[in-house]
Point group: C2
Chain length 713, copies 2
């Protein structure tokens, strides 16, 4: 490994090689940035730790990777050109096991332990494609990321940015001196800070962050400069300590950033093991409450492992108390588990991993101090593992930050709006999680009412009710954002004074700040039946969905919108990097097999927007070249017919089910802006008021860089 | 490659490394046999040739590979244990493109060429999971097979046959001297024959086939002995010549096996190319008829290629005639294509492959002479490629033969019944194909009425009508088998005198000789939502589906059936290899995490049958250990609840949709026997008449080998 040499300047330094850091690395590598990624561990996780991937996270992972030239209008259709890697989601899915159902086991009047209820893990009202939790150990998850990053780095990407001169070759001048998966290990972060402005420092304006890293074995140190640094280094984050100060040993209760929240005295053991048992639901996620011995949660795992979360309590003088943390051994954990499982047999074989944790919820008072060095993942929020949320929310922290950094670093995004929105949106989700976790874990530990309620009894009914109520949140789909400049909810800053009446037309069922729900459509370029959600892979572009409804009624509006897009006044032409220097969309090698005759030379590609046109009129009844105006039809591989049955709107049959599901008036149409992270940003009428509203919406967080962009990049 | 050395004795010799031969190799390797597989080509196909995989073939490929210990009752559930390879179907799907729709282009009153119709490639009434044709070039298909064979050979399989002493190690004593993918190349078959019985020849009784093979470069010859030999060596099959005789140059019209059928003078060119065009449907399968220049079919392909089938005709003295085969160059083919495409532009770039063929249909008069040396694939049937059927039917020939050979070679199948059924079933399908192809290709070439009808005009209406009518057949789902000993249709030998009244109960919608249609169910062992069709991977076992309907009404019958299975008189105990020496199902390492307490020691595993119990009563309302009698419940990972919505029976909601779809009376239940190739073999009442009927059914083609089996193996 010693032949890998860090450079001295990077776009971004990512500290930490767990799921959050890997998500940051994968996203930023996909966007074409040069990153330094370090981890102090010499290897990926070999056992244990986090293991549950929730439905929304699977949806996100499915949207990452496989980036080809698809987002270029006129480019090959997805699946028709080589792609990067095999897909991080597919790899994980092929290696994990699935949980669709949860079983609740409690003492009953007649039985020591009985199944009192079953419930779907992801209830039917949650509209997701992958309606299960995927379970595999953290090392497999990390390796799937690393394999994908390797694939992305290896491919000579025919990438949008090739067209604007940001070639990968330029970005990665010393690719051969970097590890193929981009991760330098074992390297420790020794120090990091944001340097003050200094006219004598040529990097001061663009790369104010300085970090000192050290090889764990050779102790060789390197000082590197970067635009940004991301601290994904876990609950004991050294990045946090570097920027926040405070004393070692203060438990992060001092310094400029503090960890707020509380701990309990409730101790749990967690282990991964193979067992022999006559417990019938051993391959289910089970929430098991004994009468007086405490609780257990079990989760099935790959390779015939079972994950056990075991409450470690004992009886002292008739009072139930937690076992002291230093006495909580693997043997005691196993003994407790066997006790709680009575009257069922439970014999432990191979134990893959064992650990102990204390229930508590803490959240960082701030995620960043200067919008140059950011924290995320466990460095910003810790909680109990039972809800299976931690790794998911940590990964999605970085997924959420990466696209904003992309826009800012490429000179298009307003840093003063986009960068604060990271904490605004993600801290809100983390707070929801902590609130849920506090209630859930206490209820599960039989400590619902208060800390002195130590009878060991659990209110099963209340617990099950809570489980069900929170399924939307625990699926990940309930991680919704409040109104801000990015989420054009009624009354939000995004709509104020900006043709606000055109936003959120009546009847609409898509909500800004919520994810785009699934819908199947027919891609008219090749007649394939596809999932609209996954048509544009994460590439940093806003996805402008034009729901054209009934073409006979919307033709005029559609033509006017198309003309507007090509006008200099449109958001599409206002917000571009060095306007005018893009290749015309008909020029590239990707134009093979696509129309050249009908393309307008006036329309020049802007990689930060892509258009998807979905037509309600049956697609057999119209022609792309006749009925879909340019430039919408130039995004030839993103024109769709909406006539595939959807069981969630069975009443409409095959008559525009997605329009109905999304609440789009077939007579009027609508424009739905989906952010690069597949959250709905804005929904407007398909009308002049609507697109002028969008102009205001985008102006709220995008610059009009014009010719000064080069300097910014 | 010279370090690979053929042995002198094999179970089976497979000649030909195309899709048919590879299917034979994959299936027989999966069944645990030692095969010699040779191909005269030094490499896999590099370009062109067959490229279309039909829905039914995808379904079959999905059912191959990934063999784990799942079929062992008490063994790990699918997905919970390591499997072989990544799945041959998944690999192909990730590399190919999909055709869902077909466009028909014809001259109209006002336009030289216009789209006159669209139609789904696989209409909605065809009930398949993969409702598209998958397109990728033959080399990718071959490599997917070879990768999977490598994976199967590499895995130290914890395999059903481990339990009966047929360990892979024994079967493949010289594995290191064989190519990892099992394919010896370049090797030619010089001669093959079945030797007459000879008491002085110790192999005479078991390995009567002798083959002489020669390394194409070193010319080193080897003589090998085998039980069986499969000729998958194409239209000019040398195996066929070896066994059938006749003179070289006789066009296979002489000898003991003749190729029957006819050729036409219609010449087509076929090429794979990249093009630039303004033809809007270039990424569709299109059937294009020009007014007087002939016809073209185009098919989209991976890597932005387009497959062109171009009719090569010209005008001579006002009469349209075919271009002579020796004058049909690539340039002429391209010129004809451009002409037919007028008024659209069509510019050819890179050409990947070019070939010429003459339309004709021929079928071998016999597929075997002695049931030791068999022919299949192109060696038995040739036809025009446009219908996209050839490779599919060829692969399925071998898929169909392999499981019968498996039963026979393991001493359980009656060779005199099972082996002739190969030709009976597959020749019927090939004849259907030829009939369809003759009509279709002539109609497409504008030669519908008769050979003198040479105006070049095509009856578009008639053609489209024919296309639609045949979609069931071209999807592969219409490859249905007639009644015989294996397909218990009314009046077939399988039911005659065998409680025939219990077969095919009224209302049933599954038909013996047809494939099992898809259905989604909940696997109660882990609550996973799964596809019933794919729950048991191809492992040579008959899949006994017990549809238990409404448990309150069927409980008695279910208990009696379970008792019957365990009785000495049942088909399960009559037809086994060395009865009594199997491991008890609770003993193996696979028993980890599964019930030990409830298993009956009296029930011993029989790898040739597996039981799937599907209950109509909602699965929340019953318990495997209480309501499902042993031994059915011992197949713990194959007990299912039937409560997942199916859009094909929307009227029942979640109330036993699969029962309704298959036409099973909830009050009575039914037993559905699915053959190892996922064809329905028999449907009977869940009653004593029913299972006694099944006893008769299985006795028709299975031996009762008892203790003399060892010798047979």
């Amino acid at each position: 490994m010693s032949n890998f040499q860090p450079q001295s300047v990077y776009d971004v330094v990512v500290v930490g090689g767990g799921p959050a850091g890997l998500m940051a690395s994968l996203c930023l590598t996909t966007y074409g940035f040069n990153i330094l990624h370090i981890d102090e561990r010499p290897h990926t996780t070999t056992a244990g730790r986090a293991d549950g991937i929730q439905p929304r996270t699977i949806e996100v992972l499915r949207n990452i990777g496989g980036v080809s030239t698809a987002p270029i209008p006129g480019g090959p259709i997805a699946g028709h050109s080589p792609v990067t890697g095999s897909g991080v989601a597919k790899k994980m899915i092929s290696q994990g096991v699935r949980v669709y159902e949860v079983a609740f086991w409690d003492p009953t009047a007649t039985q020591k332990l009985a199944r009192t209820r079953r419930a779907p893990s992801c209830p039917d009202f949650v509209d997701v494609v992958d309606n299960y939790t995927l379970l595999l150990h953290q090392g497999l998850i990390e390796n799937a990321f690393l394999d994908e990053i390797t694939a992305v780095r290896r491919v000579e990407i025919i990438h949008p940015f090739v067209l604007i001169g940001l070639q990968r070759r330029t970005v990665l001048p010393n690719a051969t001196r970097m590890p193929p998966n981009g991760l330098f290990r074992p390297y420790l972060l020794k120090d990091c800070r944001t340097l003050p402005a200094d006219a004598s420092d040529p990097l001061s304006g663009t790369h104010p962050v300085e970090a000192v890293i050290e090889h764990a074995d050779s102790k060789l140190q390197h000082t590197v400069r970067a635009r940004y640094l991301l601290g994904c280094d876990g609950a004991k984050s050294h990045v946090r300590r570097c920027i926040a100060g405070g004393q070692v040993g203060d438990g992060e209760w001092q310094g400029k950033i503090t960890m707020q929240g509380e701990a309990t005295d409730i101790i749990w053991g967690v282990l991964d093991a193979r067992v022999t048992t006559n417990f019938p639901d051993i391959k289910y996620k089970c929430l098991i409450h004994s009468k007086s011995e405490g609780s257990i949660m079990i989760i099935p795992r790959e390779a015939n492992l079972v994950r056990f979360y075991v409450q470690l309590q004992t009886s002292e003088g008739g009072k139930v108390v937690s076992i002291a943390r230093d006495k909580a051994t693997q043997d005691i954990c196993i003994a407790r588990a066997k006790k709680i499982f009575e009257p069922f047999n439970l014999e432990f074989g191979y134990v893959d991993w064992f650990s102990v944790y204390q229930i508590g919820q803490r959240i960082a008072s701030q995620y960043t101090l200067d919008h140059r060095i950011f924290l995320g993942g466990d460095a910003t929020h810790t909680h109990s593992p039972q809800a299976g949320q931690g790794m998911n929310i940590s990964m999605l922290d970085m997924y959420s930050l990466a696209w904003k950094l992309n826009l800012v670093m490429k000179g298009l995004g307003k840093p003063e709006v986009l960068l604060p929105s990271y904490e605004h949106e993600r801290r809100g989700v983390a707070q929801e999680l902590l609130k849920f976790d506090a209630a859930y874990s206490r209820l599960f530990s039989g400590r619902a009412s208060d800390a002195t309620h130590l009878t060991g009894g659990v209110d099963a009914e209340k617990f099950i009710e809570m489980f069900k109520q929170n399924a939307f949140f625990t699926s990940g789909c309930g991680a919704v954002y409040f109104g801000n400049e990015l989420n054009a909810l009624p009354g939000s800053p995004a709509v104020a004074g900006r043709h606000g009446a055109a936003f959120n037309p009546p009847g609409g069922k898509l909500t800004p700040g919520h994810r785009l729900t699934p819908g199947r459509v027919t891609r008219t370029a090749d007649g394939n039946q596809v999932r609209l959600q996954q048509e544009v892979k994460m590439n940093g572009a806003f996805r402008i969905h034009v729901f054209a409804g009934d073409l006979r009624k919307t033709k005029g509006a559609l033509d006017r919108f198309a003309a507007f897009i090509d006008s200099p006044a449109s958001f599409f032409n206002r917000h571009r990097v060095r306007a005018g220097v893009f290749s015309s969309i008909v020029d590239g090698p990707a134009a093979v097999m696509n129309h050249t005759a009908t393309a307008s030379n006036a329309h020049v590609f802007n990689p930060f927007f892509t258009f998807l046109t979905i037509v309600g009129t049956h697609w057999y009844e119209w022609e792309v070249d006749v009925d879909i105006p340019s430039p919408l039809r130039l995004y030839r591989s993103q024109v769709y017919g909406d006539s595939l049955f959807d069981r969630r709107v069975p009443e409409v049959g095959t008559n525009a089910p997605v329009h109905h599901k999304y609440g789009v008036d077939l007579g009027k149409g609508a424009i739905v802006v989906v952010r690069p992270d597949s959250y709905v940003g804005a929904v407007v009428e398909l009308s002049e008021e609507g697109w002028l509203g969008l102009n205001g919406y985008f102006a709220g967080f995008l610059d009009r860089p014009g010719s000064d962009v080069k300097a910014k990049i």
